[in-house]
Structure formats: structure tokens, C-alpha cells
Amino acid sequence: MTAVQTVGRLFLAFLEMVGQVTVFTLVAISHCLRPPFYFRLIGRQMMEIGYYSLPVIALTTLFAGMVLALQSYTGFARNSVGAESAIAEIVVLSITRELGPVLAGLMVAARVGSSIAAEIGTMRVTEQIDALVTLSTNPYKYLVTPRVLAGVFTMPLLIVVGDIIGVFGGYIVSIYKLGFNPTLYLKTSWDKLFLEDVTCGLVKAAVFGFIVTLMGCYQGYHSRGGAQGVGTATINSVVSSSILILILNYLISAMFFGT
């Protein structure tokens, strides 16, 4: 086989995958809009994706906020610029606009996306998805829709909590380590934060929630070949959703603040 053939084959395989993902996405969205809805399952997935992710999100954003305050202080100290109000602004904007959604998105991709891919993948290889079809239950409706809806609606809530904790992380370091004035810090944080910043973060959160759950479902749904296939599906779900999160994060930022 020549190099050209290899490149051609890889390219065709890539196009095929893009097509498959697109069709999967459209079918999943169409089922999100048509009854019947399994509210019980949506509730359970909201607990699974949202509530149980809280500790990991809290820790991630807390330390992100803390290290941000610490390092920006170092930077300002070197250039002898007035750090006190700048740090509060840096922390609150970075967390709400970028770090909160991205770090939380990546953590949720690792925690939730992988578990969705493994669970649905196992259901695929043990014929449980076929069993759903024989029991007149649409697998998209039963497996994919509840997870995707739960992802889209709970991620923004998670990010709100993450943002608050992230700002609090910056506050702890600024007050107790760098000796800033607490009232001034909180006031600056609040004054410098515009609605646009929060909206941008929440839009990102909803998009990332969609991406993570959808890629988990897609990879699991199309897994084959027993335990190894489920392993591959899990890897692919985390890798593909992480990459998509980083790319889409840039695009959404450019959309909000590009000009």
C-alpha cells in the first residue's frame, strides 16, 4: 500500500466518523424534543452528572483560584505594579470566563463522559441495547436523551458553584497569604464582573455538558468487541470530548469577546 492510499483511507475513515457523529447528534437532539420522556431517568442522570460531580468541581476550581491569585501576585510584584485590585479582577474574570468552565468541563469529561461510555458500551456488547429494541424501547430515548439533557442543564449549575468557589480560592490566598483588604477584594471582584462574563461561562458550560454526554453516548453506543472495545470507547470519549472542549472554548470566547 502506498503512502497516498494510506492517507486517503485515513481521510475517508475520518469523514465517515464525522458523518456518523453528525447523524447521531441529530437523532439524539430530535429525541430530546419528542415525547415520551423518561423523567425518572433524567432525574437520576442529573444526580449522577451534577450532584456527584460537585466535590471534584469544587476542589478543581478552589485550587485554580488560589494558584491564580498567588502567581499573578508574583508577576505584579516583579513589575512593581499595584497588585491589590488587579488580582481580584484577574481571578474573577479568569475563573468565570475561562478556567471555571474549561477545568470543570475537562473534569466532567473524565468523570462522567468515561462512565457513560463504559456503561453504554457494556450494554452494547452484552446485547442489552438489542434487548431494549426488542422491548419496544428506543435506545436513544432511553439511554442517550436523559444523559444529554441532564448534561446540558446541570453543567451550568455546576459552573455557578465552581465560579463562586474559585473566587473564594483567590480570596483565601489574597487575604490570608498576601494580606489584602477583604472588603476591597470582594468589592473589586463584584464591580469588575459583568453579566457578559457570567453568560459566556454559562453558555460554555451548557455546550460542554452537551459535548461530554453526547461523546460518551456516541462512543459507548458504537463500541464493539467485548471488554477491549469498551476500553477503547472510554478512551475515545474522554479524548474526543476534551479536544472538543478546548476548541469550542476558544470559539465561544472569540464569539463573545472577539472584537
Partner: protein
């Protein structure tokens, strides 16, 4: 309107270059219990999956109650599959649900019945397959293979289907449990008057549960006749298979090739 319940007409299916079904023709009458026998990889499971719409045949037609089911939409498929109950080889129970929720699945998720109404029916079907109340709240993971098949059977019959499919019902369980499953299959078919289509390579089970046997070999039905006549079948392939001889016309595929 025809009297034939399931009709396969010249069904072809292949995976890339490997031909699995090469023109399968089979008619199944209402109330009949038909067993398809054949070696591993002869296309038995693919045949069932084509009827259920899990796979789409490359060519040919499949009719259930006179309606063509090839290439139909989701809604029609749900309507057709509501008539069919299926027992999977590995039972394919939902491991996130308890035993009774599994048995009630077709009623709750498929037919939209409330959990409260579905539970007594599920318990009744579980009792029919010999599982009492103490199993109801258990997880399928805590059950043995034979027990799981019983739950799978209860799940399949809970929707009171007109057609029952059994995929290797006795494979992977001990002979006594296998015979219990055979008895249950006969009992379920007799009580509900359902049409049954079973695929297996277990001849003892095939003889016991079937009215008619069809032998699938190299993607074609090579012999089809009443169960009592299979011993006198004038077909070298059937004779080799039912006597389990290593020597004969059947070519065993070499996995290493």
C-alpha cells in the same frame, strides 16, 4: 392478509466480504414452534436479528403477519416488536435494574404502564418461571446463569407477545437447568398460544421444544421438516449435525485462515 406469521423470502446478508445469509427462505405458521439448528457462525443469530430489525438484510424480504418489516421506521418497528418477546443467549438483563424491574421493563418503558400496575404482572410472570418474591429485589448480577435466563424469559413473556424468539436458550447452563428452561418454553408457548422461533445447536433441546426443525448451513436452509422425521432425513449434512460427527460434508471454518 396471509396466514403465515413470519415469512423470510430469499434473505441475503453479508459483512464486508463474508456472506452470512445466502438466500434464506422460511415460513412459520401461527402457533408453531420452529427450531433453526446449525453450527456456530452459520447465521442463526443474524437471521433472528434481521427479523427484529437489529440488522437490515442486504436483499430479500421479511414479513411479520403479512407486513414487510425491512427498512421500516422507528414507530412501525416498535409496533412490530411489541408483538415479539425475545430471550437472549446471555439473557441481556439490565444490570442497573432489579429483577422485578427487568421483568416489568416491557410494560413500563415499552407500553407506558405505571410502576404500580406493572409490578403485580411482573411478579406473576416471575412466579410462572419459578422465581418467588425473595428474588424480586435482587440485582441480576447476583443471580446464576440459569436464574438469569428465567428472568429473561419472564421479561419476554410479560408483554404477552404473540411471537417468542429464543436465542440458544440452553447454552451455558447445566443440563438439568437446561431441561427446566425447555419445560418453561413449552409451558409458555402452550399457555399463551404464541408462535416460537428458537435457534440452538443443542439437539436434545431442539427435539424437545420444536414441532418443526430447519437446518441452516452456509447461509441457506438445507433441510426443513417435522421434528419426528429428522432422524430419517435424507441429508448428509443434517445426519452429521444431529449425530455430532467430526467426519462428514460439513466444512468447519478455520479460524486461523
Amino acid at each position: 392478509m396471509t396466514d403465515i406469521r413470519i415469512s423470510l423470502k430469499d434473505v441475503h446478508k453479508r459483512f464486508s466480504t463474508k456472506v452470512v445469509l445466502d438466500g434464506v427462505n422460511l415460513d412459520i405458521m401461527p402457533g408453531e414452534s420452529v427450531v433453526i439448528i446449525g453450527g456456530s457462525g452459520s447465521g442463526k443469530s443474524v437471521t433472528l436479528k434481521c427479523i427484529l430489525g437489529l440488522l437490515t438484510p442486504d436483499s430479500g424480504d421479511i414479513e411479520v403477519d403479512g407486513e414487510s418489516v425491512v427498512g421500516i421506521g422507528d414507530r412501525e418497528r416498535e409496533h412490530i416488536n411489541a408483538k415479539i418477546g425475545m430471550l437472549f443467549q446471555s439473557a441481556a438483563l439490565f444490570d442497573s435494574l432489579t429483577v422485578w424491574e427487568n421483568a416489568a421493563f416491557g410494560l413500563i418503558a415499552g407500553k407506558g404502564m405505571s410502576r404500580r400496575d406493572a409490578q403485580p404482572i411482573a411478579m406473576e410472570k416471575l412466579a410462572l418461571v419459578g422465581l418467588d418474591d425473595k428474588y424480586a429485589m435482587m440485582s441480576p448480577a447476583d443471580l446464576s446463569g440459569g436464574m438469569r435466563k428465567r428472568v429473561g424469559l419472564a421479561r419476554a413473556i410479560a408483554i404477552e407477545p404473540e411471537i417468542l424468539f429464543f436465542d440458544e436458550p440452553t447454552t451455558g447452563i447445566d443440563p438439568i437447568m437446561g431441561d427446566i428452561i425447555n419445560e418453561l418454553i413449552i409451558k409458555c408457548c402452550d399457555e399463551t398460544g404464541a408462535t416460537a422461533l428458537t435457534i440452538t445447536h443443542d439437539m436434545a433441546s431442539a427435539r424437545k421444544i420444536s414441532d418443526r426443525i430447519a437446518m441452516l448451513y452456509k447461509g441457506k436452509i438445507v433441510w426443513d421438516g417435522p421434528t419426528r422425521e429428522i432422524d430419517n432425513a435424507d441429508n448428509a449434512i443434517v445426519q452429521q449435525f444431529i449425530h455430532g460427527r467430526a467426519e462428514g460434508p460439513i466444512e468447519i471454518e478455520s479460524r486461523r485462515a
